[in-house]
């Protein structure tokens, strides 16, 4: 084992965990002042619940053994339940740092993925049902997907698709789940009839800064070493975020006449999403192309929710689903041998494999989440009452207020 790699990966764990509070504030600033704690809590609680589900069973299902159905490796086993068999070595993963660090790094990804979904269901979902949703989803949707892509499962093995740091497992997965959940949940009361505006963009901008910062652990940490590949992933991450943010405000300038702060940070996040599956496979110019494509296409995708009339409150579809798809597909075209360490050859064939992996990931996540949402709706109920919604989730769900008037 290598102490340099261990130190970097421990740091990366902390960086990736820090993204969830970042996401909470990114989202929290965009809701109305009566729903801020409701929004923050839906993100923070993932740090509690998913840690428990991951240690008990999620990690094992994702990264231990193989259960095959029809020759396809679809899920792990329970051998590592409770992480008891992990040991104080690197025997399980064979990486240059201890297995417990690798399992913790993977945990941080498992935490932020369901948290990403919360932006689509803002300002109207029950907290209790959300907590149960996160627990079950992390086991029946996240763990299998992580297994298919990173745990030796069939997407990596038989489909032959590559996902460096979570385009499929994190972003397409969360985006497809967000779409399924919001369709069952329904729109916010008054959506499109009244102006529902962000209550504090400075909070959103601060949160986006935390996300950008943490994303270096997310992507460069996914090199699983402290080496030139980690350095390249770090660099491509910065480039894609910078280009997408700049392209987004250019698009706003052209389309609306003024660049917006929310646009800049939305572009940055879109670029970070899109570079995620590609970060360790493309070079600086490939990262620029991915940044530019995601900035433009995600910006255009904002219209989808108005065209099809679904209340994706904080644009999880336009940013994470669409951004994730762009990144997954372009990975197949823009990966270069030099930067990917000769792992695979980019081209139309790889593009096809990437596209198939996108379809599988979308279909699985959407389907499973839709069923889970329906079951939870029939048993616990997904929505707060209209009165609770109108009084705001801070007070009605948590008996607290974000901004109190008197000291």
């Amino acid at each position: 084992m290598d102490s340099g790699a261990t130190a970097w990966m421990l740091t990366s764990c902390a960086l990736v965990l820090f993204m969830t509070p970042g996401l909470a504030f990114f989202y929290g600033g965009m809701v109305r002042s009566k729903n801020v704690l409701g929004m923050l809590m839906k993100n923070y609680v993932a740090m509690g619940i998913v840690t428990i589900t991951w240690v008990l069973v999620g990690a094992s299902l994702a990264f231990s053994g193989a259960v095959e159905i029809g020759g396809y490796n679809v899920i792990g086993n329970f051998d590592l339940w409770g992480l008891r068999e992990l040991g104080m070595s690197n025997d399980h993963f064979g990486l240059p740092y201890p297995d417990n660090v690798q399992m913790m790094f993977q945990l941080m990804f498992a935490i932020i993925t369901p948290a990403l979904i919360s932006g689509a269901i803002a300002e109207r979902m029950k907290f209790t049902t959300w907590a149960v949703f996160v627990a079950i989803w992390s086991i029946i949707v996240y763990a299998p997907m992580a297994h298919w892509v990173w745990g030796g499962g069939f997407i990596a093995d038989q489909v032959g698709a590559f996902d460096f740091a979570g385009g499929l497992v994190v972003h397409i997965n969360a985006g497809a789940a967000a779409l399924a959940l919001l369709l069952v949940l329904g729109k916010r009361t008054g959506w499109r009839q009244q102006a529902i505006r962000p209550h504090s963009l400075p909070l959103t901008i601060l949160g986006a800064g935390m996300l950008w910062f943490g994303w270096f652990g997310f992507n460069a940490g996914s090199a699983f070493n402290a080496d030139e590949f980690a350095g390249n992933a770090f660099l491509t991450t910065q480039i894609a975020a910078a280009v997408a943010a700049t392209v987004w405000i250019l698009a706003e300038q052209v389309m609306h006449g003024k660049p917006t702060t929310l646009g800049f940070v939305s572009g940055a996040v879109a670029g970070l999403v899109a570079i995620t599956p590609a970060a360790g496979f493309v070079g600086p110019l490939g990262a620029m192309a991915i940044g530019a494509a995601s900035g433009l296409i995600c910006f255009s995708a904002l219209r989808l929710k108005f065209m099809f009339n679904f209340d994706d409150s904080l644009d999880v579809i336009a940013v994470h689903l669409v951004g994730g798809i762009i990144g997954a597909l372009l990975t197949g075209l823009l990966a270069e041998e030099l930067y990917s360490g000769g792992l695979f050859v980019a081209g139309i064939e790889q593009f096809g494999r990437q596209a198939l992996s996108v379809v599988i990931a979308f279909a699985f996540s959407f389907g499973m989440t839709f069923i889970l949402a329906k079951v939870l709706d029939m048993t616990m109920g997904l929505r707060v009452t209209v009165v609770e919604e109108q009084s705001g989730l801070d007070l009605s769900l948590h008996e607290e207020q974000s901004y109190v008037m008197a000291e």
Partner: protein, 112 residues
């Protein structure tokens, strides 16, 4: 005694406060407010979605004054808060039955 209530443009607050101090006013209350009048609202754009916002920010000033000082206070606010463009605001003057200083229990003119 009078309660002078003025709705003014927020950027005029400092100027109006200084002018009122100069005119002998010993205290005032200012409150952030939102409202609409003849001044039309504005457009806000969030992620490409445009919203027409009819409510514009104003500051509501409340000044308690003795009858003799009231005309000066009113004209001071009027001249200081005026820019000549739409949205300068309004002044309302109300008769006040009594004023009580909570700390000392003084009443009427002495409490102002």
């Amino acid at each position: 005694m009078k309660l002078v209530i003025a709705y003014i443009a927020p950027f005029k607050l400092d100027e109006v406060r200084d002018a009122l101090k100069g005119a002998g006013v010993t205290g005032l209350t200012a409150i952030n407010a939102q409202g609409f009048g003849r001044q039309s609202g504005h457009t806000e754009t969030y992620r490409g979605a445009e919203y027409e916002v009819d409510m514009v920010p104003k500051v509501r000033i409340e000044v308690l004054v003795d009858d003799t000082l009231a005309p000066t206070v009113i004209s001071t606010i009027e001249t200081t808060a005026r820019t000549g463009s739409i949205g300068d605001g309004k002044i309302a003057v109300l008769a006040v039955e009594d004023v009580i200083r909570i700390r000392t229990g003084e009443r009427g003119r002495d409490a102002i």
